[in-house]
Point group: C2
């Protein structure tokens, strides 16, 4: 499967030297990178199967510079691809040959820590983890915790509406972000939201969150911080059948218990993780649940007992309860290392990301097993079980002819299955280029047109991150006709590595 | 202060009889109301100071009828004002003389109760309370609980992003709605979201929630239901200084405790409520907090002790803890009846609705007291203290010349103060017509233009609920120019009663 991207604008490419010079006038010093060697690190994001050198990389340091760069590109019809730390798993920050790659890496300062209102105001290039570290001394933290939290930026978290193991209880990025400063493609600077939890007017913060860099460039973020729970303890529960583990998840939630995290791994994932980190995982089970309860000590003690009883009622075969912080960390170590661990047992793998209604978990797992047999490819399942967010890792060998195409077809079938079960193409990794072609499977033409009209309300010329999310780009004027037919842009192939 | 509304379209008024006949062909039987007497109940919503008979009332029963009515109006350039139960406090459902009033009152059926996925799929005319009642037998409920929950419709809750006393812990409407069916002004039907908590594409559900009927008409809703907490107990805590009560709120939240509800009343509100319902409120205090803790019995017992200790540390002078469900209900009875209770001590009152960052509570209260002296009008303060949502009730006598204008000026000053303190013009009652003119105080021209571009992405002709939310309506084509100047529509006066 090759990926189609918008045609390069030859007139822009012909003017490259002049454009680079103009950008240097806006962002002086080392803020403009134009040599092929220095641009290498920007050729892909974490979806490394696709690579493309950008036309030029610009690394502004101030909102004013971002605004001037965008206005310059707006006035001259030049495309722009925004980039945070480049940890996107769906190709959201993949460059275009004729576009400016706008990196926010120099926006690294935390501007304000306001404990009274329990918010942090920060620049978008600050990493997710750095926010928690900056408030840890006072017993606070920032809740969403994607696996990439050491590296991923808070601006990128907003673009992708990132989740993490604790999002079951504490929400996704969209539930933890209160406001931002947004620069539109026109260069206009908007202030959206603020420290107060409710806002007048349309929920612009909600649209920006998860918009994958297609609507504007975030230059400041206000996030909510939470007080660290007094205690957290985890159960590690094994089951001889995957369905029983699914039933346990449903019963815990059904009992009104919202764990801080509730993660499931199947047999291949358990074995891979255990071989990698020696977390003490049982190897004779088909499914393992890690369930973390947090709150006051007395509350956690009681919840542990209730969850243990529920697990037993679902036929759990093993159950260990963490007796110390070190043991709790060990339970999680295997889960957190599951992706690299699977990388050790298979030459290559694709990490899929889809969601299903919790009640459909057993059906989804059965279907994935059927597909695994049909395609003759192994699969290791790791998922945020509590909120129905699946991460099947499809195992393949890129050196065997045809296996990569089979793996991609397998992945697409899993996502179609998620949609058929009433779920969604993506849980937290975004659509990007990876799932772009699957969007019509989930959305009707009317749905997609409405989403694109919304895009037009922010970026009428379609200059910001084109080729991502939408399989077909319509001109905004055509969308005004409400019923849209045709209007496809010519898409040449983009090389894949 | 008179309120300006868009000019009536004489060409539409001249065609009224033909329009009524055309609408009767779409919605047969008693679904079209055109006589002045029968249209009387639709002349205003709960902001009763403003009244306006609509051109015609249409009460469709199916999505197809809604779609056909909207398409007919779209094709013929006829304005439409959607209406749920008409309990809006900001005039969101106020009719226009040349507009179809589209009532959703016949959409009264709950379509599906799905306990496995913990959602209810319902028609928009179902009341907020009816949803909780429909799932109560299984121990579930729908969390947002506006004071009007017996009457207000879930569709109206979406339009206003309604809150309630339990929203501190369980979120506003936007946090509890997962999907909807939306009919655009063009008649196109979109399906937005679904049962899964995360969604691909832009967060359309987020924009629709709180959009005050300007973007589309909701014909089906999927809401999240929660399991009822095992126990709920309340503390009633009195303070001799309002500031001490504010400090107590901050310390409870700062300690990482999120009460199910945390409400504050000041002396005038306490006295009015106690005289009305005999809840046993202390009359010798300046501020009263009602703090409800919910969860498992063991957890609630512990939290009660911690909150009591915090309150004592802040200098509380009285503290009672509910020992039974009946006593807890009694604590709340006074708070829930505060609005009608204040109606008994003053001929007229305006209920304001603004939010501030929690940390600014003492400053906001001091400013409201200053303004009360400046205007010579009493004020009773009732608020959702936990999330900084103020509801000052401004007391006046409409029979005294000039008092109503003074009260409105006082209210506007309070909202300006909220914005200056980093807060927002509205917490949960919407902008509607009431706060429309204050929008530029909160938003820059660029902000308002961006919100209107978003409106244009849904309703390019501006036919849906015009005159609400935005002080100035721009034509969508003008907004395309990005920088907007002028372009005001001619607004004649609307009579006020």
């Amino acid at each position: 499967m090759t990926i189609m991207m918008p045609a390069s604008d030859q007139a822009v490419l012909d003017r490259r030297d002049a454009i680079v010079a103009d950008l240097r006038a806006i962002v002086p010093g080392e803020g403009v990178i134009a040599s092929a060697a220095e641009m290498l690190p920007y050729e892909s994001d974490a979806l490394t199967a696709y690579r493309q050198p950008p036309m030029v990389v610009v690394l502004p340091e101030t909102t004013e510079q971002v605004s001037r760069v965008l206005k310059y590109c707006f006035d001259n019809g030049i495309k722009v691809v925004p980039r945070g730390s480049g940890t996107s798993l769906s190709g959201g920050a993949l460059p275009l040959a004729d576009a400016v790659l706008l990196g926010l890496g120099k926006f690294k300062r935390i501007r304000e820590i306001d404990f009274d209102n329990r918010v942090v105001v920060t620049e978008p290039g600050v990493t997710n983890l750095a926010i928690s570290q900056a408030v840890a001394h006072a017993g606070f933290y920032y809740a969403p915790d994607p696996s990439s939290q050491i590296a991923c930026s808070i601006g990128g978290n907003i673009a992708e509406n990132s989740g993490g193991v604790h999002c079951l209880k504490y929400g996704m990025t969209t539930n933890n972000v209160l406001g931002c400063e947004l620069v539109l493609m026109s260069g206009e600077v908007l202030r959206i939201g603020g420290k107060a939890p409710e806002q007048a007017g349309y929920d612009l913060m909600g649209i920006i969150t998860g918009s994958e860099g297609l609507l504007g460039v975030v230059t400041e973020v206000t996030v909510r911080i939470l007080r660290k729970p007094e205690t957290a303890r985890a159960l590690m529960v094994g089951f001889s059948q995957v369905e029983a583990a699914g039933e346990c998840v449903a019963r815990v939630i059904g009992a009104g218990i919202i764990p801080g995290g509730m993660e499931m791994m199947d047999r291949p994932a358990i074995h891979a993780a255990e071989a990698f980190v020696n977390a003490g995982y049982p190897l004779d089970v088909e499914a393992l649940l890690i369930i973390e309860l947090d709150g006051s000590s007395i509350e956690v003690d009681e919840l542990i007992k209730r969850v243990e009883a529920i697990a037993l009622g679902c036929g759990s075969t093993t159950c260990r309860i963490s007796g110390s912080e070190a043991e709790r960390d060990l339970f999680w170590a295997g889960r957190k290392a599951a992706f690299p661990a699977v990388g050790r047992i298979s030459p290559d793998y694709i990490c899929m990301d889809g969601t299903i209604p919790r009640g459909a978990l057993p059906r989804a797992l059965a279907r994935i097993r059927e597909l695994s047999e049909k395609y003759g490819l192994g699969v290791a399942n790791v998922f945020h079980a509590g909120d129905g967010n699946l991460h099947p890792l499809i195992l393949y060998d890129a050196n065997k002819p045809g296996e990569m195409d089979k793996a991609e077809a397998f992945g697409a079938d899993i996502l179609r299955c998620c949609v058929e079960l009433g779920g969604v193409l993506t849980g937290e990794h975004g659509v990007g280029i990876e799932k772009r072609e699957l969007m019509p499977h989930m959305f009707s033409e009317a749905d997609l047109s409405q989403q694109q009209r919304l895009k037009c309300a922010f970026d009428a010329q379609g200059l910001l991150n084109p080729g991502k999310v939408f399989p077909t780009l319509h001109r905004c004027a055509e969308l005004g006709r409400v019923h849209v037919h045709g209007g496809r842009l010519p898409f040449p192939d983009l090389p894949r590595f």
